[in-house]
């Protein structure tokens, strides 16, 4: 556990978070490893995890009939993945597939929600960090939508 706590504290997502909060959240964490090609989750499955990538690359994909899997984003070392565990009905809206050997810390969504409810200050801290991520993702998606390498 002590080891996981150290790894969490070093991950950019938890940078600057009070150590007692990190220690408390570490109770929800576990180590995971994925081989190239492994599906980490699939669209429609229950979403109950939050991933902090330590190493490797994961592709987020949407299946488009007639086109196959369209990659919409890749996440790598230092990134986090997944916030569907935060909002009902807690289901994934895309597939996540490891492109290479990937190591991650997986945090249990139900456990996180419970801890946030027990300690609202910690909950606010965690939600603020996740809100920042969602905002970053939204901005990136907007740039992808306006086709920034386009002709006009």
């Amino acid at each position: 556990m002590e080891n996981l706590e150290k790894i969490l504290a070093q991950h950019p997502f938890f940078k600057g978070m009070p150590p007692e909060h990190v220690a408390y959240l570490a109770g929800c964490a576990a180590n995971a490893r994925y081989n190239p090609g492994d599906f980490i989750f699939r669209n429609g499955q229950p979403a109950n995890q939050f991933f902090l990538i330590r190493y490797g690359t994961i592709s987020l994909e949407i299946f488009v009939p007639g086109k196959g899997a369209v990659m919409i984003e890749t996440v790598q070392e230092g990134n986090v993945m997944g916030w569907s565990w935060l909002v009902p009905p807690y289901r994934w809206h895309f597939d996540a597939r490891a492109l290479e050997l990937t190591r991650a810390i997986v945090m249990d969504g139900e456990c996180l929600r419970k801890k946030c409810a027990e300690d609202p200050r910690l909950g606010f801290e965690l939600m603020s960090r996740i809100a920042r991520l969602i905002e970053e993702r939204l901005r990136a998606t907007q740039l992808q939508l306006i086709d920034i390498y386009g002709k006009d």
Binding site: V70, I72, T74, A140, Q144, I148, G150
Partner: protein
């Protein structure tokens, strides 16, 4: 062969090769058709290319500045002149005036990390920089190329990118907006690569080229990393006619892009970039 003087008179150049890069982009290699040729160029400069009876367009030089004689231009077919250029064949002759404009700050970059950020066709005006960085590699700190393209099929200069990527003294990261099936690289906008790139923000020169919106967001991200605006350079495009600072066609605030540009230090043009009417 002598270098010619009058900057308004195109010199005839014969197309030696036409290389298809992507569906809408191609590279012309030109050699002087008569005796005269234009003078040497610096990375970032452009020529005016003229198709007889169709029109003239400014196009950056995408070849190696240390190779004299041949001119290399990479062109994306977007309108009447560039589409007509796409139909040209080896052996045909076009007119060339140049080289014009300012260049990328390769001198200032010496001793510093160099971050080259390109979007779409913006890799073409930066290719001469990359040739120079590779040729005089020991003069620079870390060399990093971040390149964003719409899809894997739109990636320019694949073979060269692969060669540079395999070098141990260069970091090459490519990202696309979307991909299917076999793509194994990054997906996401080019600005996402900037925070991960291992350069020293306090001792680097960043050169950014692509559509204005892409340059704008790339500069924001560079600034977030702590890179001072005086160390960031961008290349601006406007319609041109004379290319020698006469006609005012390319005016951009207080500047004529054909003369003071196309390469500007970012703090020179920062206040103009967000003005809608310019």
């Amino acid at each position: 062969m002598a270098a010619r003087q009058d900057p308004m008179i195109p010199l005839p150049y014969r197309i030696e090769t036409v290389q298809r890069e992507t569906g809408d982009t191609f590279t012309l290699t030109l050699v002087p058709a008569a005796g005269d040729q234009i003078g040497p160029f610096a990375a970032g400069q452009f020529n005016m290319l003229y198709i007889f009876g169709v029109g003239e367009v400014p196009i950056s030089i995408s070849g190696d500045p240390s190779e004299s004689g041949k001119l290399v231009h990479t062109i994306r077919a977007v309108g009447s002149v560039t589409r007509a250029m796409q139909r040209l064949k080896a052996g045909q002759v076009i007119g060339v005036r140049g080289p014009f404009g300012s260049s990328w700050p390769l001198e200032q970059a010496q001793g510093n990390d160099v971050v080259v950020i390109a979007g779409g066709i913006g890799l073409a005006p930066l290719r001469p920089v990359l040739y120079t960085l590779v040729k005089y590699r020991e003069r620079f700190g870390k060399v990093i190329l971040l390149y964003g393209s719409r899809t894997p099929e739109d990636i320019l200069f694949r073979r060269e990118l692969e060669k540079w990527r395999q070098r141990f003294d260069m970091e090459v990261s490519i990202t696309v907006d979307r991909a299917t099936g076999r793509w194994r690289g990054n997906v996401g906008v080019v600005t996402k690569l900037i925070p991960r790139a291992p350069f020293d923000p306090y001792s680097c020169i960043a050169m950014v080229c692509g559509p204005e919106i892409m340059m704008y967001y790339s500069v924001l991200s560079l600034k977030d990393q702590g890179v001072p605006t005086e160390c960031i350079y961008i290349s601006m495009e406007r319609n041109m006619k004379c290319a020698i600072g006469f006609c005012g066609h390319c005016q951009y605030g207080p500047y004529f892009i054909c003369k003071e540009g196309p390469v500007f230090r970012y703090d020179q043009v920062e206040s103009l970039l967000n003005k809608r009417e310019i």
